[in-house]
């Protein structure tokens, strides 16, 4: 039986995980967010909704994704390492678990127009995909700088029929794309649903996205039981930007004290280099995109532009669930630098024949820092595949023979 813990898994009625969360939104968003808050749990509990969600996850996304024992990696670290293969999902990452759930929800709310933000483009592609599947209008906001950096994903979104709108305000990256998407929602209060891509934003988004992604840990428990005779690993490891794959991978283990929760943030050029995205190390309590969480900011409360080699971890905040895991000590937060992530990506490719996304590579970069033993069972969430990062990998292929 999976127990629901009030403190770590699920926020209170007002969307708080401990001190973090809430819905710090202007009145212009109130109606949209209130409608979602009143409806999401009801809709997500409807048998017809669950049936369609499960069927699409199975036949369209390709779930359950395998849990693969990485034998060579296990031997190298003298332990037992299992990989949760979210990279094998349709569109190449876990992001689609959430967009499938939200598009079904949007249909039931009577919405006809979908908006989304995207950084690296993975969430944008996953949103454009489900909009094509359901014949819905799709507008994706993407920072002008990211559009230049992620051309293949821009082309994928366009081929899927989405309109990609450059965010030209502020720093012209993910946080600004999110601002523009929220503004679009303010300007379209009736027909539009906003599919947020991570466990961020005003309540109920963090809880809703975590619930859609929780299929990851639900499957891990079943698969581990088959393979090891125990549902519980000793360690579950995932990378964290906003934190959606981590929320999904941790979810059904949060209330199991024996499971060590390991969240890996992007340290960029080094945590204290001034070029980093390690929010729990560098952030202070603050409010961004509608929730109170940890936030990288100046002493005057202006939001700081983070840096990571991986565009998906390049976010100045972190979901409120993770902020609570950090501050309560339930989660162990460590970080990996750009170089460590690159090394890990090449190493995984050569050791197990799997090219991971740069985001995902951060999770593998910490295996050597955990003092693993032969009796440990370690699950790493392999959140996405690395095709989109080939241009970056090619630049350092000479230094990784």
């Amino acid at each position: 039986m999976i127990k629901e813990a009030v403190n770590y898994q699920v926020p209170d009625l007002h969307g708080y995980y401990g001190d973090f969360g809430g819905a710090y939104i202007p009145e212009m968003l109130q109606q949209n967010v209130a409608e979602l808050k009143e409806q999401y749990l009801k809709i997500m509990a409807e048998p017809a909704f669950l049936q369609e969600f499960d069927l699409l996850l199975k036949d369209y996304v390709g779930r359950p994704t395998p849990l693969f024992k990485a034998e060579r990696l296990s031997a190298e670290f003298n332990t037992n390492i299992y990989l949760k293969r979210e990279d094998l999902c349709h569109t190449g990452a876990h992001k689609i678990n959430n967009t499938i759930g939200q598009i079904l929800l949007a249909q039931r709310l009577g919405k006809t127009r979908i908006i989304a933000e995207t950084g690296a483009g993975q969430h944008g592609v996953a949103t454009a995909t489900v909009c094509a599947l359901k014949g819905m209008e799709c507008i994706v906001y993407m920072g002008e700088k990211d559009i230049e950096r992620q051309a293949p994903n821009v082309a994928r979104m366009q081929m899927l029929g989405a309109k990609v709108v450059p965010a030209t305000s502020g720093s012209k990256t993910l946080k600004d794309a999110t601002n523009e998407a929220i503004r679009d929602w303010i300007n379209h209060p009736n027909d539009t649903h906003y599919i947020i891509g991570s466990v961020v934003g005003p309540h109920p988004y963090p809880d809703m996205v975590a619930k859609f992604q929780s299929v990851i840990s639900k499957e891990i428990r079943i698969q581990l039981k088959e393979k090891t005779n125990s549902e519980l690993p000793t360690h579950i490891i995932a990378c964290v930007g906003g934190g959606s794959n981590a929320a999904g991978a941790f979810y059904h283990f949060l209330n199991e004290p024996s499971v060590k929760i390991v969240a890996v943030e992007a340290a960029g050029m080094g945590v204290h280099s001034g070029m980093s995205a390690a929010t729990t190390q560098l952030g202070k309590q603050g409010i961004l995109h509608g929730s109170k969480s940890l936030l990288m900011q100046t002493a005057d409360g202006q939001v700081v532009e983070p840096h990571s080699i991986s565009a998906g971890l390049d976010y100045p905040g972190i979901g409120p669930m993770h902020a609570n895991l950090y501050s309560s000590g339930r989660g162990h937060f460590i970080s990996a630098t750009d170089d460590e992530a690159l090394d890990a990506a090449f190493h995984l490719s050569k050791t197990e024949g799997i090219i991971p996304a740069l985001e995902t590579a951060h999770a593998f970069a910490v295996l050597g820092k955990l003092n693993l033993t032969p009796s440990d069972t370690v699950v790493v969430c392999l959140s996405g595949r690395g095709d989109k990062d080939l241009a970056t990998y090619m630049k350092s292929i000479q230094t990784h023979p």
């Binding site: 710090y24 109606q31 600004d176 503004r183 303010i186 603050g286 409010i287 409360g301 202006q302 939001v303």
Partner: protein, 259 residues
């Protein structure tokens, strides 16, 4: 009676509230702009505290905020600029309201912010991303303790029940957003009239000031016919971005609204 409340009870014509961003167009222009607005006959000045991620604002105000931040504007500096303002005869009676977002205020320290605002002669606060749940639970009492007004926003989508709730929590005035949009957008004033007449029929405790999309005499007069006045922001910021001297520009802008 607060200063803002007395402005509504003594002003015969519709109340004119002009918004500008602190530290824009230049770091030191804050008091100059205020002085010129006051001399031109504006009733309330709304000063924007610049923030890197102003969700409720459109491109014009965001751009002015980015420039103000680059100029070096901070809450700390704004308070030091405002300290002397009430000693100036032109600014002794005008309403001064601060508008901004929660994050910079929380970093400054909410209690300290309210204390320093009151001390600098500020009358009231507009913090669009402070929701009523958190206001009632934590922040409302602090605001009240320092004698500051707090102004909530309502929109055409806000239910009657919620309008009444937000009116009961507000002091000074209630800010009616003309349409569901970010600041600086285009607005249909026929629809706005219906909405404002509905608000009037509620017989609220606070005067209603209309904002978003008010940009000239025609739009000001249109909304003022069914409210106590209006707030002009983006149109004034746009005017400030012209490289004309402030001494000429500010009075002529105000005159174009209220000859």
């Amino acid at each position: 009676m607060s200063r803002v409340q007395s402005i509504f009870s003594t002003t015969k014509q519709p109340v004119l509230n002009i918004y500008f961003t602190a530290g824009y167009p230049t770091l030191d222009s804050t008091l100059t702009v205020m002085d010129l607005l006051a001399n031109a006959g504006v009733d309330i000045i709304e000063i924007g505290m610049p923030y890197s991620d102003p969700l409720a604002d459109g491109p014009v105000i965001q751009e002015s905020s980015s420039i103000a931040i680059a100029n070096g504007m901070t809450i700390e500096l704004l308070f030091s600029q405002l300290k002397a303002c009430r000693a100036q005869p032109s600014l002794s009676k005008i309403g001064i309201v601060l508008m901004g977002y929660m994050n910079p205020v929380l970093q400054y320290g909410f209690n300290r912010f309210c204390a320093d605002a009151a001390n600098a002669g500020v009358d009231g606060l507009i913090l669009p991303d402070l929701p009523e749940y958190e206001f009632e639970k934590e922040y409302g009492e602090i605001i009240k303790a320092y004698g500051l007004d707090f102004i909530f926003l309502v929109t055409p989508e806000t239910s009657e029940e919620r309008v009444r709730k937000l009116d009961s929590l507000s002091t000074g005035f209630l800010y009616a957003v003309s349409s569901s949009a970010t600041t600086g957008g285009e607005t249909s004033f026929n629809l706005v009239s219906n909405y404002l007449q509905k608000l009037q029929s509620y017989q609220l405790k606070n005067p209603v000031m209309v904002g978003f999309g008010i940009k000239d005499k025609a739009s000001f007069d249109a909304v003022a016919a069914n409210s106590q006045g209006a707030i002009i922001g983006s149109a004034f910021i746009k005017a400030l971005s012209n490289n004309t001297s402030l001494d000429e520009l500010v009075p002529s802008f105000v005159k174009s609204i209220r000859p």
